[in-house]
Subunit: 407 residues, 2 copies
């Protein structure tokens, strides 16, 4: 452990006391829940994130469709953890982990691979979108994972309408008003619905030469169902509602090609100037950092206490972790990440206090939901966080509801 | 007049009817007020703006200091004019005017110098910042005129704190926490106060290694007074209050040099990583387009009916126009622009209706105001627009108050 280097990011004085240190990588739902659980722990907590803000990812599509502003969808991590006197936030990108020396390597604005020591490590690094081996699609079909992604997609959509208004060529105008979403999971379904509502309400009377309500919204998926992971009744209801909203749905056909002029799938071609990727996700490189066993999707296989086999001091949580419950893998949703973060934080707190380990982690399913157009929630059961959010949203004062208190 | 080219931006059908056409260049306070006044006029109104949104410029500094979000400070022009069935909005940049052929030249996303015919023209193109011949300053000291400027400055300020938190070199850390504002007019004064409040409230508890309240905020101006154009009593009160907020004020010294390391003025040097230009303004090139007489500052000299001498069909309004009232030039503030826009629109409406011209333009001063820190308005008299805005702001529902109804 190179103390001189460590100093440069942590400050020598802070390591003098031998307070145990917990490093959390990622300020998403999982990482923040872990930090919350460690608030009163006798430990120094360091949370490392690429940005300085937490993003309410499940509603990012609302930024992309101009429903909500970026600031309504994100909150400064430092602000959320303000009262955590034992917690320090570092804006930087983790480039690797040394399990033997117990340190993570961090790149910040002007330094590379600065080692930061840990006694306990929680990896909550989430996912990026996966182009299923077609990385060349990314240039033409941006994905939706970060706030910057959402703002870029929003600008792309709004620009398409502006360009169409100024365009005389009828074919080009039609291509500008064709929006293709690849992937009919929750993000694709919710975004298609939001876009359909957006062109029929907000934009309806804004233009003089084009009719925004004539915009063609196309949803494509390789599987035979929209919302494939949901209950069949919900999936059917969603599909019917999308059709009522005028969304064109193509199922059972994989996308073969995407370029600047449109999309090819199942031998069919749709010309479009705006293609958005709402399909697969790929886990962060946490598995590679750890040299740990991963599942087919690249997620780290964790034990029932969320730790990595052979390293009881390393926890992997949320979308980055692979864990089965009742024979089925847990889904990559916020609720799982939050409950796992809370568990890992509590686990460490108990161990530091010399108490025995808690029971194995068990996810309590509060329900799943996809919002298909205004006021049309498909809910298996009331999901506290979402409901609080929606309540707050109507009153336009929900930013403070980003706290993770419902876990 | 090249009709083929014109078609490409306006559509041939729209010129078939011989409805007179009013072209408004600029979607700021002046341009929108003119469009509002023309809502019921028997004319086709075309409003051209570089962006598709109106910006509430007097409070842009609040975006730069993270008080308000960009979306709270701007509103889509198309949305504001939605109910104006006679009005079309074009997103494009005007590159010139042909007074004889009566057309403006417009660049849009993929066309250059497209002529757009007018019967009446209203130029409301506003100002950019002037570096007084030192354009090399711009790179190191960005100005604050557009929404993009404000977001860039906000990110620069927030990054400085993030970098300072990770910085071990004490000197560099101090330079990162030194913020210099050049220009003590309303923008500089309001921004210095907002920044002082921001570091002492919002940021106060967010960092662990740096103390944001120790940030040094410096305000420099070549004149001997802050708010030089305000009444001396207000100017003195503002200066005292800034000092109370801990802002360091240097007056009577012109800035000689700005580089990436700091500012030199009056032989003195202040090291700073964040210098912001809140000084002079320069008018848009409208004077050059028209080949018209301008004042020393480059603003077009207009007649008492706001028209350009020799061209009763061309009006210049707002910051772009130079007009004396009671022997003094009118100030470049929103109220003047709004009243002038309303006047020019009404003038054209009356002329189209065959009525006689209205009385010469006269500005009714509703008061001026600078906000020096939270809840400290310096107001000569209640200014309706601002007051409505503030009332709205507290209730978080003010976006709709961007209408110009108080004129």
């Amino acid at each position: 452990m190179n103390d001189a280097n460590l100093n440069s990011i942590n400050g020598a004085d802070e390591r003098k006391s031998k307070t145990p240190r917990v490093v959390i990588v990622g300020g998403g739902f999982g990482g923040l829940a872990a930090a919350k659980a460690l608030r009163k722990a006798p430990a120094q907590v360091i949370l490392i994130d690429r940005t300085n803000h937490h993003v309410f990812q499940p509603l990012l599509y609302q930024v992309a469709t101009s429903v909500l502003a970026p600031s309504q969808m994100s909150s400064p991590i430092r602000g959320i953890l303000r009262k955590h006197k034992n917690t320090m936030v570092i804006m930087g990108e983790v480039s690797g982990v040394d399990k033997e020396q117990r340190c993570v390597f961090v790149n910040d604005a002007d330094r590379q691979h600065v080692p930061v020591h840990y006694d306990y490590l929680i990896l909550a690094t989430g996912v990026r979108h996966s182009y299923f081996g077609h990385n060349e699609f990314e240039k033409f079909a941006p994905g939706l994972k970060s706030l910057a992604d959402a703002v870029a997609i929003r600008n792309k959509i709004l620009s398409a309408f502006e360009l169409a208004e100024a365009e005389d060529n009828v074919d080009l105008r039609r291509d500008l008003l064709t929006f293709v979403l690849v992937g009919a999971g929750p993000t694709g379904v919710e975004m298609a619905a939001a876009l359909a509502v957006f062109v029929r309400t907000t934009l309806r009377s804004d233009f003089r030469r084009i009719d925004p309500t004539s915009a063609r919204i196309v949803l494509i998926d390789a599987s035979r169902k929209v919302l494939g992971t949901f209950a069949p009744s919900l999936s059917d209801a969603a599909e019917q509602h999308l059709q009522k909203l005028g969304v064109e749905i193509h199922l059972g056909q994989a996308v073969e090609k995407i370029d600047s002029e449109g999309v090819t799938f199942g031998g069919q071609r749709i010309a479009s100037k705006t293609v958005i990727w709402t399909a697969g996700v790929a886990p962060s490189p946490a598995g590679k950092w750890l040299g740990a066993e991963t599942d087919r999707a690249g997620r780290v296989r964790v034990q029932s206490d969320l730790s990595v086999p052979g390293h009881s001091e390393i926890f992997v949580i949320g979308d980055t972790a692979s864990l089965d419950q009742d024979g089925k893998p847990l889904a990559g949703v916020a609720q799982v990440a939050m409950q796992q973060g809370h568990y890992a934080g509590k686990f460490i707190r108990r161990r530091l206090a010399g108490k025995k380990s808690p029971k194995p982690f068990r996810y309590f399913d509060k329900g799943t939901m996809a919002v298909v157009g205004k006021g049309y929630p498909l809910s298996k059961a009331a999901n506290c966080t979402y409901m609080a959010f929606w309540r707050g949203w109507r009153g336009l004062s929900f930013t403070s509801l980003f706290c993770l208190s419902s876990v």
